[in-house]
Symmetry: C2
Subunit: 371 residues, 2 copies
């Protein structure tokens, strides 16, 4: 692509008679938002009026439409970029956003993952294997109870133990108490195992709250955090990682179920572009709906970005059973972090939880790198 | 509803054999995110585990499921509330969020519209009639060119002239220059007409950018602003109106096309709950997809909130023709602001643009209040 144009790909439902006009209307809707007869100024071409690059028939009344939009229309702003990609058109039922390729210069400005796949592998000391993560839940437990769980997981050698994405600053489990107690639990476990598990708190709230939580987490010694970009706002994620945070961010897909944006585009391309280092997404066959092909597409998009940003770490989750580790890694390969929560937490007692955790860790560590 | 529970209504696709289990899984997914067998602590009931209130058959394999979720699960946080409403479940294809009723106490905390329908009518001096709005576009024009358009519209007595939602801080039209020039245009027009049009700039960017734009806009004398809550993040809107802004906010639906949240719930309930005073939405029959019933439901939800917040102003838009004003107001009644952009801006010359603007204003002013 040219350095002055973004390439944006949509799937459009239209008849073959109508698709050219539909593609042109789609092009205009994202920027000038007026019909061609209202565009009196020829200077708009290339400034805010892009071009239809290709229209490809994919099936009956189903077309892939590729648009080139001028970078200048985005003002290089993380929020305005979303308008150019899928602002008004998200409201039209015949269009799905399929793929986004920003210009190299925009990728540099947005920045993408700061640590990414490589940084998380270094942090976990997992240079030659896949990684393990689990979650602290259910919401409703006290900080002390969650810290006890965190301690059990850390004793068994999980790489990362994250908050559930619904853990906020609840009175029954205040953020500061939780972070302090869980960090302490990982340090205590490290004294007996000689191996460090990273506790990953969930940052959630309006921007001032997220910033305050980020500051507290760093002061206490947290080395990675989790954020749900669609809940707090994608531009908030970007501002946070560009200006305020020096540890990796693991992104959670909550509220991201806009079926009109393909998971590959939202989770595989936009989340890392805005700065996520690892992206959690629902694995095929769990209690969510993503197909095998979609999961594969997300993982590939994360590891091989289509713009010059660092690779991010695919983190499949959502109902993976602890005894299916080999199968899941056989599908994804070792450049992966597995997030298993329920299958460990549903253990009837702590002995079972620890045994299952240990098995999870061993199975992942045993998986040969390069597969 | 009880003061300790939110009522959340979903549409669920399930067989009648399965719907009870599906409703229970939906209940747990939004808060504790574990199956019942992993909930060892009875203290969670009422703290973070809610209850299924009703399951109502709506059609074949189509159920309305009403859940009561504990207010305590939301931590009274604007971001965490979104998780409880539709965090993980947004990723499941068999569920649509239909309606949200937070507790009265939560409504007070989130605050809803500060000026709302009544405040905007006062600001426009439109105590007994519907209101008029138009948009400055296309993106790509300079600040001076947009200000000239703003001047023409103001001369013809539009109540509000808003930026297009894609106008950011573009180098070809910097925010400060645009706001200054457009405000000046409305003041100059007021000197000859004796009537004041309000220019409404678009605030867009990551949180620091939005805050800076809000501050500049207020310093220059702006009396209302526009924001796209799904682009900047709903919690950002809430923080802005609760802490930093003393003028009304008009909300734009860009990026809001998550078909899995019904428009009535997202635009009619959540946007005002988070603080929007007026909500722009695609009118039936335009270039978007909303049905007559959906538009009616949005307008009703805005005017008659289901929680104790101020009514907000329905602002239908998106392809309304200037010669259809009577028809549209016949449908909505006068407690409405009509937003017409393209149909005015597609005028071949300024004389036509002014004539059409004047006609738009006269048609709205003539529409009898009480209809």
């Amino acid at each position: 692509m040219s350095e002055s144009e973004l390439l944006i790909v949509y799937r459009v439902q239209a008849s073959s008679d109508e698709v050219e006009a539909r593609a042109d209307a789609l092009l205009l809707e994202q920027t000038v938002e007026l019909s061609r007869r209202a565009l009196h100024d020829p200077g708009l071409r290339g400034l805010t009026v892009g071009r239809v690059v290709a229209i490809e028939a994919m099936g009956e009344d189903d077309f892939r439409v590729s648009l080139a939009q001028p970078r200048s229309a985005t003002a290089d702003d993380p929020a305005q970029l979303l308008n150019v990609l899928f602002g008004n058109s998200s409201l039209q039922p015949d269009v799905v956003l399929e793929s986004v390729t920003v210009t190299d210069a925009q990728a540099l400005i947005l920045g993408g993952p700061r640590m990414g796949l490589a940084g998380l592998r270094r942090l976990a000391g997992a240079e030659n294997r896949a990684m393990t993560m689990t979650a602290l839940k259910p919401m409703g437990l006290s900080a002390a109870r969650l810290a006890a769980l965190c301690h059990a997981f850390a004793l068994e050698g999980l790489d990362f133990v994250k908050d559930d994405h619904g853990l906020a600053d609840h009175p029954f489990c205040p953020f500061v108490d939780r972070v302090r107690a869980c960090l302490e639990a990982t340090l205590r476990a490290a004294q007996s195992t000689g191996r460090r598990t990273r506790y990953v708190p969930n940052l959630i709230g309006s921007p001032e709250t997220v910033l305050r939580q980020a500051r507290i987490a760093r002061e206490l010694g947290v080395e990675a955090v989790m954020i749900s970009p669609m809940v707090v706002g994608l531009p908030v994620l970007n501002e946070l990682v560009r200006r305020h945070l020096d540890v990796p961010v693991i992104a959670h897909p909550a509220l991201g179920g806009a079926l009109r944006i393909q998971p590959r585009a939202l989770l595989g391309q936009l989340f890392p572009l805005y700065g996520a280092d690892a992206v959690i997404y629902p694995n095929v066959g769990g209690r969510f709906s993503y197909s095998r092909d979609e999961c594969d597409a997300i993982a590939r998009a994360l590891r091989r970005p289509n713009v010059p940003i660092a690779p991010a770490l695919p983190t499949p989750a959502g109902g993976i059973k602890a005894d299916k580790v080999g199968e899941v890694l056989g599908f994804y390969g070792a450049e992966t972090m597995l997030l298993i929560g329920g299958s460990l937490l549903e253990s009837p007692d702590e002995t079972t939880l620890r045994r299952r955790s240990r098995q999870f860790v061993e199975d992942v560590h045993r998986f040969p790198y390069g597969n």
